[in-house]
């Protein structure tokens, strides 16, 4: 499953760096605020998808609660900024940490049982978070949420104060976090840890029999992806300038799942590409949300029936098939 060899790896990193540089130049191309806002949300989705890919694609654990960590980071960052008057950066960071810890807690409790319990508990955890956001109005302000969030500013020594007040500027911020997430997850999946995660996904009993503490690795994967989701949510709410219980909307989960499934669980670049594609698609489609989600559902069903390993998996399979002819006549 892993890409092999140092040379393609170096090529991969070169292309990645060039693409990143180009992406940073995007705001200079004079796109409208609308386009930059779409690009900003694409960055946010990218972080969610890369995180879910780490958990589901590489480790084989279906998390239906990434949105819980995303929303948790968002609420923590917003409350820290509004109620505690913290700096936004500190709030976002703490939001990420809290999201990561809660991810580990959810995973620790449910993974003792089974990966099935993990899927269900993450799902229920997300629902619970939304209910708490709506009902614990002393803290969360209830259904209407917290409006008028401040804008992040950065004091650069000698250069004065920089305010992230336009979509283009915010895009640079979100892009930086997205790239950082990509780098973090890339280094995990291409390290010894990543190989361990794949081993767990493919045959947990075997991995365990070789003396691996599989639970630690699984907790690490879930913790990292939850922390990334929390950071992304925390940073993104200041772009929205409001946080309310709809940040926990199940639709975000659905969209993120589609991105990973269609891209191909366990295929690093394909999932990134599909997260960008699916962020732009609704804007290009210009259909109502309803019709869009009908389409998403159809895509999910079709993907599960004909290509459960996604486009990336399909390409990979073809590559492997080209290298090694199958014995026998092939399955039915």
């Amino acid at each position: 499953m892993n890409e092999t060899g140092a040379r393609p790896r170096r090529l991969e990193l070169g292309i990645g760096a060039a693409a990143a540089a180009l992406l940073y130049l995007l705001p200079t191309a004079g796109f409208s605020d609308y386009v930059m806002a779409v690009a900003t949300s694409a960055c946010a989705y990218c972080i969610l998808a890369v995180g879910l890919n780490l958990v589901y694609g590489y480790t084989g654990l279906l998390s239906l609660g990434q949105v819980a960590f995303w929303g948790l980071g968002a609420y923590v960052a917003a409350l820290a900024a509004v109620d505690l008057k913290w700096s936004i950066w500190a709030g976002v960071l703490v939001g990420g940490v809290i999201a990561g810890i809660s991810g580990i807690a959810v995973a620790f409790s449910s993974l003792r049982l089974s990966r099935h319990a993990f899927a269900i508990v993450t799902l229920i955890f997300a629902l619970l978070m939304q209910l708490i956001a709506r009902d614990w109005s002393e803290v969360t302000r209830g259904p209407l949420g917290i409006p008028a969030l401040p804008q992040p500013t950065l004091d650069l020594p000698g250069l004065g104060r920089f305010v992230f007040d336009t979509p283009a500027r915010y895009y640079v911020l979100m892009l930086t976090l997205a790239l950082a997430s990509i780098v973090v997850v890339y280094s995990i999946v291409h390290s010894r840890i990543g190989r361990a995660l794949v081993a767990i996904r493919d045959n947990e009993a075997l991995a365990e029999s070789q003396g691996m503490n599989t639970l630690h690795y699984k907790l690490l994967a879930v913790g990292v992806s939850a922390a990334l989701a929390g950071l992304a949510g925390g940073l993104y709410v200041f772009h929205l300038s409001v946080v309310d219980p709809s940040i926990f909307d199940f639709a975000y989960t659905e969209a993120t799942v589609i991105m990973v499934i269609v891209g191909g669980p366990g295929c690093f670049w394909a999932v990134i590409a599909s997260s960008i594609g699916f962020s732009i698609l609704p804007e290009a489609l210009r259909v109502t949300d309803r019709v869009r989600y009908v389409l998403y559902g159809a895509i999910l069903v079709a993907a599960m029936l004909v290509m459960p390993k996604g486009i990336g998996g399909l390409l990979q399979q073809r590559r492997i098939a080209a290298m090694r002819p199958r014995p026998g006549q092939g399955g039915t």
């Binding site: 199958r326 014995p327 026998g328 006549q329 092939g330 399955g331 039915t332």
Partner: protein, 238 residues
């Protein structure tokens, strides 16, 4: 002698990956055949492929002149093939009575009743434990129950996967005696057995598998005579 069952270049496995690869052999009618080989050699897979419980990946399976490899298990059962899988393959949370009735699932009610009656007469233990849960029976009793369930349909070909697994020596001998009696009554038996010495004593023919392929076939005496196979699969000295 006509062959009861013929594997013609059969490949089979649990996924697209073949565990039994391109295997050909014939099972003579009214014979007892024993499959031996190391763990993972594909013995159970071969047995299950004859019943249709694993994925058929290539080749043909001919049962009394009819190609059966595309038939579902229930259709093979109707043609007289029955399987007793390895280890406690019964309905643990149901009673012996319910298990036997399920064993006779493909029979009409009067035929089922008669068949169950015959098995209870043959194995009085079944009658004694009539209303107990199958999961509460001892290992040997469960093995007898499972064989009885398979025999309800009066199979002409009986596939047994490790019938002596986990049994005490005494029960093991009883099970082997039952198999011998079945063969004498005209049932063709193919079995996988870890207890090679006990199995060879009642077998007419032995097939040795390694890495999903047949590496030897012959009467038990020939297997015993082959030094290589003896050391590899039968333990040093018989």
């Amino acid at each position: 002698m006509t062959p009861a069952l013929a594997f013609e270049g059969v490949s089979a496995g649990y996924s697209d990956e073949a565990i039994v690869r391109d295997l050909s052999c014939t099972i003579e009618d009214r014979s007892v055949t024993c499959l031996i080989g190391a763990n993972g050699a594909g013995k159970s897979t071969l047995l299950k492929s004859a019943f249709g419980l694993v994925r058929h990946l290539g080749g043909r399976l001919i049962y009394r002149g009819e190609a059966i490899h595309e038939l579902l298990p229930e259709a093979r059962l109707q043609r007289g093939i029955a399987l007793v899988p390895q280890g406690r393959c019964n309905f643990q949370d149901m009673t012996v009575r319910e298990n036997l009735w399920l064993g006779a699932y493909t029979l009409a009610r009067p035929a089922a009743e008669a068949a169950i009656g015959r098995r209870v007469a043959q194995f009085p233990m079944l009658g004694r434990k009539w209303n107990q849960l199958a999961g509460n029976l001892s290992g040997g009793e469960q093995q007898i129950l499972e064989m009885s369930m398979a025999l309800l349909v009066d199979p002409t070909l009986l596939l047994l996967d490790e019938p002596s697994l986990g049994l005490s020596p005494k029960t093991m001998n009883e099970v082997f005696a039952v198999i011998r009696a079945l063969a004498a009554s005209g049932v063709t038996v193919v079995m996988v057995e870890q207890n090679v010495h006990g199995a060879l004593a009642i077998s007419d023919r032995v097939i040795v598998l390694d890495l999903g392929q047949k590496i030897f076939e012959g009467p038990p005496t020939a297997v015993m005579a082959d030094a290589h196979i003896r050391t590899a699969f039968l333990g040093a000295a018989p």
